[in-house]
């Protein structure tokens, strides 16, 4: 019976015939019906994830090109390429082939620069995308697991960046590896062994570039690809979040259909990202390895900087004092078989800040869920101001990160602004502790102030700049009321109130419950409730009856 219906249906257009051909053989109509017109909300801040995805595609394309010419061997050779200043110099085959890519393969330098810029952009886009997701509360149910996948992707992107950064075997990246070796050796008990296994013996050895190469071109990208697939699959399952506004709620999704508008915009955006990366590669030199020379354990250039995404860990290493209040941060522990060394001056900065950031990052959705006791699905995002405490926590974390990041450039800050290097370090050490706290307080106040401003505008309209003189001589500025749509954007949010601890079935408020209550008041103690229709009505009545001065008082007394 079905064959007869198929035989009867004849598509009229040529694309229709192709669609029908494929559909009859692999049955794509279900997928097409599901996705062809799937609705995607649109907002500029949703682009960061797209930038990350597209720069990853660019990385795969440019990276594949580079593998055709790169040789990861650490065997010694003498340079005989086109770059005159290095002619005849002893160097590794890896560095030699990186130079050849730059100077003797046409377009090779361009591809190297595309690859490096795209890598920097990739990690940046992943990071900014995560900030966007955090500050808008997009990690809430049902998207907690996708937030975790995103966090894993952030770590993988940093791993991909670092393994690639070391490959050219130039002086700069070699010193980076030296630092890694120093950190690895600080690991208690097994550190020395891990270092020897990693480098195939003593540093630098002749194995590390080949091993990093394998991880860089196979293991890490394969894991990224897998995570990206899971990430996108979950985006489809959940459907995209949307910003709050008239007509948008947790039960619908408002936006453009995938075909044609959204697909065109997103597809076109890939070419734009590629174009921008190409402009950067054309005009801005990145990692001029020929200036650094081959790796040699003796020289080092002043003002060395890691790639930006490693900066925060390097900065933490710089901030940690070796001696604290006259006490050494390296401990010599007497054990039955001898004395062993514990390098807290390396271990603490290498592990604690990054451990703290990633632990909080991975657990935050569950922390907030536990505090708010909120088990609902959220598809409408929060404007950051409408979740003041969360926004303040995010900013505190961001500042914590940025202080360490700035510390990685402490020497450049000192030379650039002609200040003492030691002072820069002292200030950054203080900011490491004070910065996040100040950031938290200020951000929370700013968010609450913005909420009050929203309230004011929702209730009294926006200032028009038109001054009117009243019959009794008073001057007053006229306010223009918002239309319903604009007002709803300002009032359509939830403002939870702090919760008391709830007794269990025995009538006892447990310790956990008390802790939850304490955190709840930490989160929601300071709140600004959305404006209500009755307040608006009262405000209108005031307008007619009461003088403007009193009205202002009434608002500010809220």
């Amino acid at each position: 019976m079905s064959t007869s219906t198929q035989a009867q249906f004849k598509p009229k257009t040529s694309t229709g015939r192709i669609t029908d051909f494929v559909d009859q053989r692999v049955g794509g109509s279900g997928i097409l019906r599901e996705f062809g017109r799937k609705v995607f909300p649109d907002h500029w801040s949703f682009m960061f994830g797209e930038v990350a995805l597209y720069s990853f595609v660019i990385l795969l394309l440019s990276g594949t090109f580079l593998t055709f010419f790169f040789d990861p061997s650490m065997a010694e050779t003498h340079y005989n390429g086109s770059y005159v200043p290095l002619k005849g110099m002893e160097m590794s085959v890896a560095y030699n082939s990186s130079l050849n890519i730059s100077f003797d393969v046409r377009g090779g330098l361009f591809m190297r620069q595309v690859h490096h810029w795209a890598a920097l952009l990739f990690v940046a886009a992943v990071s900014v995308h995560m900030l966007r997701v955090f500050f808008t509360g997009a990690f809430r149910k049902p998207r907690e697991l996708n937030w975790v996948v995103g966090g894993v992707l952030l770590i993988l992107s940093m791993a991909a960046g670092f393994t690639g950064y070391s490959l050219p075997d130039d002086l700069l990246s070699g010193n980076g590896l030296r630092i890694i070796d120093g950190v690895v050796m600080a690991i208690p008990v097994v550190g020395t062994y891990i270092s020897f296994f990693l480098f195939g013996g003593e540093f630098p050895g002749t194995a590390i570039i080949g091993r990093l190469y394998m991880m860089h071109i196979m293991l890490v990208p394969a894991m990224i690809l897998l995570m990206v697939a899971i990430h996108l699959f979950m985006v489809v399952v959940h459907k995209h979040t949307q910003y709050p506004g008239p007509g948008r709620n947790d039960r619908n999704v408002v936006g453009y259909p995938l075909g044609p508008v959204y697909a065109a915009k997103a597809g076109g955006f890939f070419f734009i990202v590629f174009g921008v990366v190409a402009i950067m590669a054309a005009f801005f030199t990145i990692n001029p390895i020929w200036n650094y020379g081959p790796y040699d354990p003796s020289p080092v250039s002043a003002g060395t900087q890691p790639d930006w995404y490693i900066g925060w860990v390097d900065g933490a290493l710089r901030l940690m004092p070796g001696w604290l209040l006259g006490l050494p941060m390296e401990w010599h522990i007497p054990l039955p078989w001898g004395v062993n060394s514990l390098s807290l001056n390396v271990l603490i900065p290498a592990l604690i800040p990054a451990g703290l950031v990633f632990t909080l990052l991975f657990t935050y959705p569950w922390i907030e869920r536990w505090v708010t006791r909120d088990d609902r699905e959220h598809h409408v995002l929060d404007r950051p101001r409408n979740a003041p405490t969360r926004t303040a926590i995010g900013v505190a974390g961001f500042i914590f990160y940025c202080v360490m990041w700035a510390a990685a450039s402490s020497d450049l800050i000192a030379t650039h602004f002609q200040v003492s290097l030691n002072d820069v370090t002292y200030w950054l050490r203080a900011l490491f502790f004070i910065g996040p706290i100040l950031g938290f307080i200020i951000t929370k106040r700013v968010a609450l102030a913005l909420q009050r401003k929203d309230r004011e505008i929702a209730l009294h309209g926006r200032e028009t700049g038109r001054i009117v003189r009243l019959p009794h001589g008073e001057f007053q500025e006229m306010h223009a009321q918002l239309d319903d749509y604009k007002r709803y954007k300002l009032v359509g949010f939830e403002s939870p109130v702090p919760e008391e601890g709830i007794p269990n079935e025995n009538g006892i408020v447990t310790k956990t419950e008390k802790r939850r209550a304490a955190l709840s008041s930490f989160f929601f103690e300071d709140r600004v409730a959305p404006a209500t229709p009755s307040e608006l009505a009262a405000g209108h009545a005031h307008h007619e009856a009461v003088e403007a001065g009193e009205e202002t008082k009434q608002v500010s007394s809220y």
């Binding site: 620069q113 630092i179 070796d181 020395t192 630098p204 070796g322 007002r487």
Partner: protein
């Protein structure tokens, strides 16, 4: 759900919250009315947009041609200037080719494709019924395995699974040799001449004037055929000459210097960067990686930064020909700390 929260208007527990607030809450006015674009009403504007899109695609074609011209037309001649020129035009070509297509498509989508925002219902991710069924299936499966009723099976399985990955760890043993005492020794030995880095010419004590600094390697380093970098990474030394009265050698180290000439390991005791910066006036050594600062007059004691231990000193003297030589190897391992280092 929340039998304990019944009647509590402050509970955030889902819908129950609403209460009186539901009444006094702005109602969603729905999607704002759709506004037509100029191109929707004015055929001339639509035509104009169409031309703009075509021009952008045209720019892309020009960009591709520009790339091909730069690739085949510009001959590399071993100068950086030509390389930069080619790189710039290759990049510009790709940039125009890509941006032309990208901006063209986006402009097309924004100006000419329908811009009605549509609203689609979300379906519940999983209905209560499905969830109950899923949990039951998992419970049934576990029940049928009997793993809960048979702890012997469970425990031996856990034991077997815990041990099974061990070969996967052990098999990596041959990634490298064991450290042994290799970190405790360098190329320096009694009578080993101090030589300039990198050319390896030995240094006479008379060459070293007050205030000067030398980057030093063991003379025998350059004749090594294998593992040169490994040895160099441990044995590089900084040689400086100060006024002898500026040095304050501790007991037992009085004869480690010669005429105010001192030699210290160049490898930072923090994480191993070369401590390459010598501040002549203050007699400080600074590591450019993490700014550990060592005071040369106090046997390279750490005075700032993340390092803890002073740089190891190499005891030196002169040989019969007046060349600086080592008295022995370093008396402690150089470079970053490690667990076995006492």
């Amino acid at each position: 759900m929340g039998n304990h929260s019944d009647g509590s208007p402050t509970s955030s527990d889902a819908v129950a919250k609403a209460g009186h607030e539901e009444v006094d809450k702005f109602q969603d006015p729905g999607l704002p009315p759709h506004r037509l674009r100029l191109a929707d009403t004015d055929p001339k504007a639509a035509k104009r947009s169409e031309r703009q899109v075509a021009i952008l695609f045209g720019i892309s074609i020009v960009g591709t041609l520009l790339f091909l011209f730069a690739y085949f037309g510009i001959r590399l001649d071993q100068t950086i200037a030509t390389l930069r020129l080619q790189n710039t035009f290759l990049g510009l070509g790709v940039a125009f080719a890509m941006l032309g297509i990208g901006t063209g498509i986006v402009h097309w989508a924004r100006a000419l494709m329908p811009d009605h925002e549509v609203s689609e219902e979300r379906h519940e991710l999983r209905s209560e019924e499905d969830r109950v069924a899923a949990v039951k299936i998992v419970d049934d499966i576990i029940e049928e395995t009997g793993i809960k009723r048979r702890p012997l099976i469970r425990n031996t399985l856990i034991g077997a699974m815990a041990l099974a990955p061990l070969p996967a760890i052990a098999i990596f043993r041959d990634l490298g040799p064991l450290p042994g005492d290799s970190l405790h020794h360098t190329l320096w030995k009694e009578g080993e001449r101090l030589a300039r880095d990198p050319d390896g010419t030995p240094i006479k004590a008379t060459d070293v004037t007050i205030g000067s600094a030398f980057h030093v390697i063991p003379e025998s380093l350059n004749s090594l055929t294998t593992g040169k970098l490994n040895e160099k990474a441990k044995s590089v030394v900084l040689l400086m000459r100060l006024n002898p009265e500026d040095l304050h050698p501790s007991k037992g180290r009085e004869d480690w210097s010669y005429n105010g000439i001192v030699a210290y390991s160049k490898i930072c005791t923090h994480v191993g960067c070369p401590v390459a910066l010598y501040e002549q006036q203050t007699h400080h050594l600074l590591c450019p990686c993490h700014q550990s600062t060592f005071d040369l007059t106090e046997e390279c004691k750490v005075i700032f930064g993340p390092a803890v231990r002073p740089l190891p000193q190499l005891p030196i003297t002169v040989d019969s020909e007046g060349y600086l030589v080592a008295q022995s190897d370093f008396h402690e391992p150089v470079g970053p700390s490690f667990w076995e280092r006492s």
